[in-house]
């Protein structure tokens, strides 16, 4: 309850800040969408030259892409770790965070809240609806609850991975270069992982499990039975990776408190 109240409070402050720079809000929305659009263009261009990507047709790949955007938007809204190292470690704002009575990671999430990213989630839903109806996918009683569950699980996976990576800033020189590179990799979870070789499949499934934020959960809605068991694993993977991320973080904070900046 306390933390929920804080979310509302930080959101209010965000809105107040944003109202002073209204133009930025839209620039940000547009640049977010453009970022997504480039990947969309990639899919469109590919399917101009082929009918199937590893046995998946265009509508299916587009549907996976739509699903991918939903948790990604939620994640980008609430978990925004860009520039953590500069702002909190180098400029020392971590000290301020540590003198406040709320969980430190939670404070950092809240201070960097980014609601425009949610626009991407809505567009993702629209893309899912359009490609889903093109494919004639059935709308079951469980569709919405499972969509919510999978979205939360995928957000947990993102949060776990990025929190673990960001916590590296506590150990070493600024690993700021890694996050943008990760952004490239996560988008690979949107394509049928079966097209990759074994090593990359294992990597995207178990080590940096970006396949669980795209292709696996989406496969359940697409009635792709070969990935059904993987899809059902999504919440478990979410919990595990969130746990790993939080552990790495807490360990990192302990180390920060031992070593200082």
């Amino acid at each position: 309850m306390y933390y929920f109240g804080l979310v509302i409070e930080y959101l209010k402050n965000y809105m107040k800040t944003r109202l002073t720079y209204r133009a930025d809000f839209w620039v940000e929305v547009i640049s977010d969408l453009l970022f997504q659009a480039t990947n969309f263009i990639f899919i469109l261009v590919i399917f101009m030259h082929t009918n199937s990507l590893g046995g998946w047709n265009q509508n299916e790949v587009v549907f996976v892409y739509g699903f991918f955007m939903v948790p990604f938007g939620v994640f980008s809204c609430f978990v925004n770790m860009w520039g953590f190292s500069e702002r909190y470690i180098v400029k020392g704002e971590m000290d301020r965070i540590l003198t406040r009575p709320a969980h430190n990671l939670f404070q950092i999430f809240l201070e960097n809240i980014d609601p425009p990213a949610l626009v991407g989630s809505f567009i993702g839903l629209i893309i899912m609806a359009i490609s889903g109806s093109n494919l004639g996918l059935p709308f079951e009683w469980w569709t919405i609850p499972v969509l919510i569950l999978f979205t939360l699980s995928a957000v947990a996976i993102y949060t776990g991975i990025y929190t673990a990576l960001t916590s590296l800033s506590f150990y070493s020189d600024a690993p700021t270069g890694i996050l943008p590179l990760m952004y490239n990799i996560q988008s690979y979870g949107r394509y049928p992982v079966t097209i990759y070789n074994r090593a990359i499949q294992v990597l995207l499934t178990w080590i940096i499990p970006f396949a669980f934020v795209g292709i696996y959960p989406a496969a359940l809605f697409l009635q792709r039975d070969e990935m059904k068991s993987m899809a059902l694993l999504t919440p478990v993977v979410g919990l595990v990776f969130l746990g790993i991320g939080l552990m790495a973080w807490n360990y990192g904070v302990r180390r920060y408190k031992g070593a200082g900046s």
Partner: protein, 350 residues
């Protein structure tokens, strides 16, 4: 009861060595070398509730490291630590609800929105009830005359205005212990004295314990009943300010500028019987060195009525000068005395 209790506190950092040149940099890529630096070396002190204590020393003496350990930001390498009944680095979130922290160089307010919004948010973060918050805010706002500023974004505030707001932000939850790291740095004299008065009132009315680091001796003179001086990670003095100044203070210098020629002999004659040392560059400029046990006003009294004075400038010793003079005075014996002093103090305080 003691607000802050520190026993044999030590903090050691591992510092990465950067080897020189291109070859060194390549070597660093594969194997790093570290050196250990001990920033705080087994210090002990106790601060009773309601005391204002100045924590001074040159840059790099270990002040900030100590403050960071006391506020729960850093975990000590060894030693026992108790602040407001808590061990700061355990139960951090509970502990910090009881303390206020102001880092003079960093803001805890939101840059782009009205100050009042930041306060609102901090109220939620510190779980202060609406009623307590209102009462407390009204009191602080009135005391610091912030009414006009509340709706202004922080980026439009002057440094002095901002610092007053920072104090409010740190005090909204009515902490029993307040840590101030260079609270008056960069402020003009009017704001400095406003802040000092305010802190003194807070201490008197609410019994807030205050620990502050500063380079400004006037902060200490105005506020502190006690001074802890740090050098190279060790406490070299712990006791009253007056004793510190008497023991190590170099005295004060007063610069005089005269409208008409005034001879050195004449000056000496006026202050006959006083331990004042005069020096003069020429007939129009002279310097008087006045030991600390002598009032400056007494000296001025002798001179002002008689000479044709166009300007007087009093040069204050600051803490850095005192520290420097401690080094120069040959530290071997005097820190020993200081330590004895400190032991005596502890008996009184506990």
């Amino acid at each position: 009861m003691a607000a802050i209790q520190v026993q044999d506190l030590r903090k050691t950092f591992k510092v990465q060595k950067n080897r020189e040149g291109l070859k060194g940099a390549f070597a660093d890529l594969f194997k790093r070398e570290y050196t250990e630096v001990t920033a705080v070396k087994d210090i002990s002190f106790t601060i009773p509730e309601g005391e204002i204590c100045g924590y001074i020393g040159e840059n790099g003496a270990g002040k900030s490291t100590t403050i960071k350990m006391l506020t729960g930001i850093l975990v000590p390498t060894s030693g026992v630590l108790s602040v407001g009944g808590y061990v700061p680095y355990e139960e951090r979130e509970k502990f910090v609800r009881n303390i206020g922290v102001v880092f003079g160089q960093r803001s805890q307010l939101w840059w782009d929105i009205g100050v009042i919004e930041s306060f609102q948010l901090l109220r939620k973060v510190y779980r202060v009830s609406e009623a307590d918050y209102k009462k407390r805010l009204d009191e602080l706002v009135e005391r610091l005359a912030l009414q006009e500023l509340l709706n202004r974004p922080v980026r439009k505030l002057s440094l002095g205005q901002r610092m007053r707001c920072e104090l409010v932000a740190a005090l909204l939850h009515n902490p029993s212990i307040l840590f101030l790291d260079e609270p008056t740095i960069g402020l003009d004299i009017v704001v400095k004295s406003e802040i000092r008065d305010f802190l003194k009132d807070m201490n008197r009315e609410h019994g807030t314990t205050i620990l502050l680091t500063t380079h400004d001796l006037q902060d200490i003179e105005a506020l502190c009943s006690r001074v802890i001086m740090l050098d190279d990670g060790r406490i070299i003095y712990d006791g009253g300010l007056e004793e510190l100044k008497q023991r190590w203070g170099t005295g004060r210098e007063v610069l005089f500028q005269f409208g008409s020629a005034t001879k050195l002999g004449q000056l000496n004659h006026w202050t006959d019987g006083m331990p004042v040392t005069w020096s003069a560059e020429n007939d129009l400029n002279a310097k008087a060195w006045i030991p600390l046990d002598l009032n400056v006003s007494d000296v001025l009294g002798r001179v002002v009525g008689q000479a044709d004075i166009t300007d007087i400038k009093i040069i204050e010793t600051n803490t850095d000068d005192i520290v420097r003079s401690i080094y120069q005075s040959g530290s071997a014996e005097k820190p020993e005395e200081a330590r004895a002093e400190q032991d005596g103090k502890e008996v009184v305080h506990v």
